[in-house]
Symmetry: C2
Subunit: 683 residues, 2 copies
């Protein structure tokens, strides 16, 4: 077979993808085989990358939004010389390999974002493109186009059907993100069969309605030049993102090509054999890469390396002329915050007035937003409620709108929580930006799919989640979170904060901002909260501490957020009944759990019973408290004080349950703190 | 002011909405005031309804998707004579009123679905329209157009921005739902100000791309005839849903009309005064309805009542000619299942082979699908994985596609989990259908916003949530749920099932199908599970029971789903170390919690320590077990047995922790079962 090296490279991708999935006896060969041509064209002719430094700032970003096709990207990473070996391809989908069943950014060099859950990757890509535009507008100078990379995305029908991508892509059109180029694998196949069963909309027309450029390549199986021409045209349009509809044959080369049989199951042995034969490979061998393909790819990679070298030279000159900007850029990439930033966090004393914690959060943002230039804020159309806009902030907007510019640091996400979450993941993944965004706590749930990936992919993303309980009052049960904190507390590597006052809110921001690899949700009240007696930032950054100590206490009241102050008020109520109560604030379980056992036992000691108080689901509170007072039902619409009263979250209501707790545990000798466990958890 | 009664009716709505929000000192007057004209036209000229019987099957359905505008619908319900009094309007947004801050279907007569969380209502409406088309295709006969109602929706910009509505509306276009008519309140205002800051897409073009008819009315403030003409045109097109872009002035009549100041805050006293003056109302009085407006509305209502009477006559004739269909229809509306249906639930004995619970679920569907004709299935493009398609089922599809017809009972949702969840809520709300749908458990989280509303609005909706744990194996951490069960266990009025074998799976379906007012999530395994010794449907419908009893046991192992069998295998392992273990299966916490305390204590007795075993977050297990073995981290990609081994979910790994548990609790006298609590929870 006298195929050109280009065609051979394409077929090598196909064969390796078939080998990897067959060897694992698991995975999705169809999309990699169908998308091999476009992947080859993109990586060999357009993508700017240096496999030896996958973190080079000005690299083009590649996102495989149809993450189930990961055999494709693993194969590419291997061919072009990233630290992904043939051995790694053989360990595809095996425990502890760097080639898991879907691409995970923190596992594999060259993977930008964690994808697989459909619709996320394309939405992350919008974030990557925003970050690029913003970083360019912030750091580029005349003669110094330091940052001008493209963001390329492959996506399938599934990604287009998911609402999260609709949200993100509508915003991308509004924002005129010209450096974002999406390539839609239009193979007409989904798991349920033909896309005709459920997906007959005119996708390109929809993207036009969003303000995207739309292009078509009708023979994605063979027309490498058409593919190249389309990508070039996409690059040329600077004020619109582009989507290229690329018609391909799923599982190209398989006997079952074009059917959904090749979507999610490896090819059979005889099918792989004929595939290899047809492509000029030895049918008896697996995981073979022709040397000329390696040579070809190495050459491309070497060009990439020299492009990085040129860029490094440019950066060195930049460092001379723009020292301050240079140092800022280097610092940001390390993930370090500016020296001394934490001195700007507000601190409070008990004599300060009661303030809603959403307002405390605004105070913090007003203080630190100018000190931490990599902060990029936003809200899902609740700016005035979330109080997420620091004073004097310019909007991130296309300059042509007259509403801001790309150096602006506040994103108007619209009512698009899920898109916002996925975009924040992309913003964080870019490497020069720390995103935070606001919505009501209840609607963080709309973004659950994205929050989960923040946690899994270990990105620093902050949710300013206001209106955090029945305390929001009149909006009622549709807006009052009950299950939300339990949900995200159960999510690994996600910090959930519910600060009780000013110092705790500052502590929440401190830990959220200094945790480079963990997202945070900061739950904030609509109603005013008093400043507590023993609250300091130093105490609160431990995740839990004693707000009120009492010699010979009969009970520990453990609480968070707006209920801590009510628990403090309950002390007097209990004193009337000769019960001595101590009060603990536990604003962040995850952080508290990371403290030494000695410390935790000093906060939640043996010998006395404890009662948790939080106006939402009690689920999980059994981990810290012997008894739990919460709300295992939906809330109610009304002025918040009436709602609190209805559910007895008052000093009297809490005291009643505290008395019951003391009585119930009276007969138990040597009461054990729940901190004591028989064995360590898997974390 | 010589206004016609029509104009007076419009202005009465505006004034009452202003009064209600001002009186509550909370709420959203702007949209009700802007949409008063279209609401008046719709209710007086088009809507078919009888306020005296809000449950009349063939009524037109009205959905206020922009639920924050609920002062509008409460006002309409009052004016037309539903059981909503002026007093109720005065108690708007007060605790325990029937006029809460957002419309709740189970609270207020005339409210079809619970809205407020944006994007949900329009998506529910798609479900209502599907149910209408399906019920018509199933029950209508020549000369008997029993079911031919329309579904009308009001929605705002926020609803259009939410991805859930994109998903549902794309599907609605595909399904050619001609009886669905949406009216978009195009007032250019969102909370963040002008929609220009984030929402500049061409909405109508987008809806055209979905296959909708799109219409425009440019003066929604005054052009009542134009509004009527548009609705008429919408009714005439039978094979497309319609969206009408209606340009209105938010807060029409207020001094601040057209600004976002009137969106979410009541009008000031002087503004209301001038409003009333301008509209010919006494500025010193509140909550006043001119008698001629009542008269006008009463006349409309009376016409509605007589239409129902005509329909009842038609139904009586139908009952004679189509006795069986008639009885089926009546039964369905009561929510009762066909007599004896439960006899079709499969039962198993321990000698039956090990079967994956997703397959057990398929077996059930194959048995009961023909017995319970109101079941409507579906999947978010994972039919072959979820095994949700009962044998021989016809697709619900527009006949013109040649892929099915409207009497079909299987919906191809596409990769649209959130849309699917919201559509199921609409299907259930219609009253003649019980929806179930499949996706991976992990992706039920994408639909969290809709699941929450299933629970709050008390609808019977079933999620067939397969691939329920790390047991799905190779797909890896992006697909392996960790936090999901904790999330939905914490959600009130939502049953989470994780059956361990065949009888437990039948029990899960039994309880899910007979719980008329509670949604269920049934978590099902990909891997095979053995049939357990003591498992029966009767035991499992209690939510928890003893799988293996042991005299003088040293420990209780408590588990769910795929881990119960491993716990049974652990008995032998522990016996080697002279530890006697009993095993409890707890497939549904919510149902177990509803059993008598005596029963619960018989399952989880005092005196011995207990250990929970479940391959996901331990959060909440402290409620039942003294110690917890789970996975408070993300999973791993690999063959499932390897993954279980990696995390030590093997008889050896469990035994190790059981020994630690026994040792740790050895010194504690009179160990108390966690079932014992100091006081009752608020549920
Ligand atoms: Ca967490
Ligand atoms: Ca629940």
């Amino acid at each position: 077979m006298g195929a050109s090296v280009e065609q051979l490279a394409v077929n090598t991708i196909r064969v390796l993808a078939a080998d990897a999935t067959a060897n694992a006896n698991s995975g999705h060969p169809g999309a990699p085989m169908g998308m091999a041509p476009v992947a080859h064209v993109l990586f060999s002719k357009f993508m700017r990358f240096n496999p030896k430094n996958p973190k080079w700032l000005n690299r083009d970003r590649f996102v495989l939004s149809n993450g189930h096709a990961c055999a494709l990207i693993y194969t590419l990473l291997h061919l072009y010389g990233y630290a992904v070996t043939l051995e790694d391809l053989k360990r595809f989908r095996q425990v502890d390999s760097i080639t898991p069943g879907h691409p995970e950014a923190h596992d594999t060099p060259g993977i930008e974002v964690t994808t697989g859950p459909l619709g996320q990757g394309i939405s992350n890509a919008v974030g990557l493109a925003i970050a690029q535009a913003h970083t360019a507008a912030t750091f580029n100078k005349p003669g110094f186009d330091l940052v001008d990379n493209y963001t390329y995305v492959f996506l399938g029908d599934g990604c287009l059907q998911e609402g999260v991508s609709s949200e993100a892509c509508s915003l991308a059109g509004h924002l005129q993100l010209g450096n974002l180029i999406a390539i839609w694998d239009d193979n007409h196949i989904t798991i349920d069969g033909d896309t005709n069963v459920s997906f007959t909309e005119d996708v390109l027309k929809r993207y036009e309605s969003y303000g995207w450029q739309v292009l078509t390549v009708s023979d994605g199986d063979h027309d490498l030049e058409g593919v190249a021409a389309a990508i070039k045209k996409a690059q040329e349009v600077k004020d619109k993102p582009t989507i290229i509809k690329l018609t391909t044959t799923i599982g190209f080369g398989s006997k079952l090509q074009g059917t959904h049989s090749v979507h999610g199951s490896p090819l059979k042995a005889d099918d792989i054999k004929q595939l290899k034969q047809a492509f000029g490979f030895n049918p008896e061998q697996s995981f073979v890469v022709p040397q000329e393909v390696y040579d070809f790819c190495n050459k491309v990679a070497a060009e990439g390396a020299s492009k990085e070298q040129e860029w490094n030279n440019l950066l060195a000159k930049y460092a001379e002329q723009y020292k301050e900007e240079y140092e800022d850029l280097i610092r940001r990439q390390k993930g370090d915050l500016p020296e001394g930033w934490e001195k700007h966090l507000p601190v409070y004393t008990p004599s300060d007035p009661a303030i809603a914690s959403r307002k405390l959060s605004e105070n913090i943002l007003n203080k630190i937003f100018s000190v931490i230039p990599e902060l990029m804020g936003g809200s899902a159309d609740l700016t005035g409620s979330n109080l997420t806009l620091a004073k004097g902030t310019v909007d991130f907007q296309p300059p042509s709108t007259g509403l801001g510019d790309y150096s602006g640091r506040y994103i108007r996400y619209g009512v698009r929580e899920h898109g916002m979450g996925a975009i924040m993941n992309g913003l964080a993944a870019y490497g020069t930006v720390i995103p935070y965004s606001g919505t009501f706590l209840n609607f963080v749930s709309y973004a659950a799919g994205a929050v989960r990936l923040s946690a899994l992919s270990q990105v620093r993303v902050i949710w300013v989640a206001t209106h955090d309980s029945i305390g929001l009052g009149e909006d009622g049960p549709t807006h009052q979170p009950i299950e939300t904190l339990a949900h995200f507390r159960a999510l690994p590597n996600c910090m959930v904060w519910r600060p009780a006052d000013g110092n705790e809110t500052s502590a929440a921001y401190y830990v959220a901002l200094t945790s480079k690899h963990t997202p945070s949700i900061i739950a904030l009240s609509r109603q005013n909260l008093p400043q507590l007696e023993n609250s300091t930032v130093e105490h609160a950054i431990k995740g839990g501490y004693v707000v009120h100590e009492q010699e010979g206490a009969d009970i520990t009241l453990i609480s968070t957020g707006s209920e801590v102050g009510i628990c403090v008020d309950t002390i007097k109520e209990l004193a009337k009944q000769n019960i001595k109560a101590r009060v603990v604030s536990l604003p962040c379980w995850e952080v508290f759990d990371a403290q030494s056992k000695d410390y935790r036992l000093s906060v939640l000691p043996d010998g006395i019973p404890s009662l948790s108080v939080e106006v939402m689901s009690t689920l999980g509170w059994e981990r810290y408290a012997h008894e739990q007072f919460g709300l295992n039902r939906f809330g109610a619409s009304g002025p918040y004080k009436d709602v609190y009263k209805k559910f007895e979250f008052t000093p009297e209501g809490i005291a009643k349950r505290a008395v019951a707790t003391v009585n119930f545990w009276k007969d138990v000798p040597n009461i054990r703190s729940p901190i004591n466990r028989a064995f360590e958890q898997l974390i």
